[in-house]
Symmetry: C2
Subunit: 483 residues, 2 copies
Amino acid sequence: MTSAAKSYDIAGLKARLGGIRTEENPALVRQKSRDFYWYSPTLKRQLDAVSGDIVAFPASEAEVLAILAACHALAIPVTPRGAGTGNYGQAMPLDGGLVLDLSGLDKVLEIVPGRVRAQAGALIADIDAACAASGQELRLHPSTYRTASIGGFVAGGSGGVGSISWGGLRDLGNIVSLRIATMEATPRILELTGEEVQTVSHAYGTNGIILEVEMPLAPAYGWTEAIIGFEDFGEAAAYANALGEQDAILKKLVSVIAAPVPQSYFLRHRKYLPDGLHIVLVMLAPVARAAFESFTKRWNGRTLYRSDLVGPEEAKGLPPLYELAWNHTTLRALRVDPAITYLQTLYPFPNQLSLAEQVHARLGDEAPAHLEFVRFDGKITSFGLPLIRFTSEARLEEIVALHEDLGIPVFNPHRYTLEEGGMKQTDAAQLAFKREADPQGLLNPGKMIAWAHPDFDLGAGRTYLFLGLERHAGRAGAPGDPT
Amino acid sequence: MTSAAKSYDIAGLKARLGGIRTEENPALVRQKSRDFYWYSPTLKRQLDAVSGDIVAFPASEAEVLAILAACHALAIPVTPRGAGTGNYGQAMPLDGGLVLDLSGLDKVLEIVPGRVRAQAGALIADIDAACAASGQELRLHPSTYRTASIGGFVAGGSGGVGSISWGGLRDLGNIVSLRIATMEATPRILELTGEEVQTVSHAYGTNGIILEVEMPLAPAYGWTEAIIGFEDFGEAAAYANALGEQDAILKKLVSVIAAPVPQSYFLRHRKYLPDGLHIVLVMLAPVARAAFESFTKRWNGRTLYRSDLVGPEEAKGLPPLYELAWNHTTLRALRVDPAITYLQTLYPFPNQLSLAEQVHARLGDEAPAHLEFVRFDGKITSFGLPLIRFTSEARLEEIVALHEDLGIPVFNPHRYTLEEGGMKQTDAAQLAFKREADPQGLLNPGKMIAWAHPDFDLGAGRTYLFLGLERHAGRAGAPGDPT
């Protein structure tokens, strides 16, 4: 299979890499060439056959630089990979070449009050474990807390658990600094701070390889978990919004999930979830418990579950609440019903509640509501991660269009490019930085439309198709090829 | 002088108090009967002669209870007092009687992650000093940080430094619990949590004596202080508002002070303050410095001062930045120009910027602008503490009316009652609690209109005059009586 694909000089590459650990076994390479793209039936169809030619596992920064130099010399694409927990195909090598698995760069380098510095491959949970001794933890993490790497989060994530207090990764200050390597004949190392970090964060590794990440920390009080139930979805959403606006009740998560999703898919919490109730998931600081109880009483919310009120044995059998939220909501639904997919939307302030009600009234059970409340530009508003009962890609596109027609931006998780999965526009700073840091366009090819196809009309409603994708997907085997 | 005032059985009281320390020297009693009411020319005229008959200095909770029981038995009013740093006459005994000086109850009782418990008389700065060992500090403090007591802050304050991140004391969760004593034949001790704390917080001690306070803590990173200058006031205000909305830049203070106030009154910072520049005072977490610099550059703000960039010798000569903000702005102006007074207003979201510009364009140099940005109901907005170049009480009332006509609520600091200094309405929960906890109306008489005069029409625009005030002010000597 790989023999037909020798467009890259992998043998020459290996000769240059000396003792650096690599892997060419096709099944393993294929495994290291995917992420959670299969949440999307569209991406599953498009990307299922994607595979790199070789995976490298550097154990040090020096090894990363050696790999980059060698790949640059041989014009071999490099697609960096953290833990592969993305959903947009961020870490998938559309044009083949080398997958740069950064999981070996996993050291937590420095912890001081308010700040941690770690290598890109360090797992988020491991960083928090290291920070616990000083009573600290990361401000933000994805629902894949236990498996995701910090570099992958910065390169391909946007926020998540914690965004109700701190906003998103796009906000100035949520990434303190980045140490990156450029993709040049002699790779340079750059330290980016302030606004500069935004040129490389959420660029899917297209314009620099993140080596180290410096992140702000928040106090680690432990979090009290609560599930509050409402008979009316609008009430649940309004309560969650108002709870978000309670400035003195410190929170890490405020999610609203419409019935029957919790009852159908949150199996280990099932006994706390009476039929018909729409639920709000809350992680709050223990110091705020009494305030939270008073607040919830004002809204006549029904407390269905509180982590501090169940016994330790019972608690042990339950996943943490953030593993019911954000994209873990989708994951739990998918595990029960493989026909489920989802969207990621933003209900803009100040119309978040009416927009959410409107769109879900329109779509009914085809798209059960899932709201994630966050701070966004200083206000509380809500992302939507509605589940979609998938019927066809055409219908999925109709649902996307329905949102956009209502003024609800969609961060389309059925697209693998930065532009189409984001704000439908090219990030000029990211593009300019790619010209400087990856002049040959070898980093994660096919993800930045503006690089490969600057004239592509993002407003025309056509889906971008990276040319290399077909070419290289073919090399890795036909769709459905068993691995 | 005091001999004419024997409407209370002070001798009988002393006999009951046994070894509890008291003070009857008129000059000392008078001193302990005042706060910073003299910021207001109106209050100065009305309250200047106010004095209690005796001051008690309990050294323990048991002594407080003994004093309350004795005063209850003899129907002697009790006005509690922390450090006397209020500006609304909160701690002034309008009806004479006993001043309960709580400064002897100054123990910090418990510090755990996220929470501190202290006696009511503990100074805020002392609490923070005790919390520093665990890397923690109080979320909120008044600009009188170094002199104010925590009990006084809870009983008579509203927020201040820290409100840009945490909202105000009125917000559920900014006071964890209160331990209070009732004013009954046998005083009861009550522990209030959640919503209950709001019955006693900001009630000026009219419905219970606060014995202990449990407050949430925030991390103590130390704060970088910055002064940013703008040539245009509207730009300065818009920058401050947008900085407030930067969710990832952790801040403790964002104040805007219009020229020429800083140049005229901030004498020790004078050399950093070029003529004509409107300034923004910022306290930010050190981890956010680079983000803050990038953000400020976007707005073309001129960095006039940064605490981390001056030498330690120079820094030592400067007061902390919060002592230029909130009511310390007023204090610094008053020290230079005794004809200055001020207002306290709220510019409601989302019109805060246009309302502030509008009112200050209308008033010109008669009321130089001073904005304090805060979180309020989950949004960033601004309080106003404009300086007022005082000419007459009538003109002051006109200026108040001008604000109110524009839809800008005024928390009138020229009124000594809860209702008139607050939201112009009776707090039903506070009144109900007073019926229960102080059935004879002996606690801080004259401050809650609804108690003494339930039919008073707060909407009629008349100023409330407590009857006891005239009677007892007379006892303490005529206005201007030397002490």
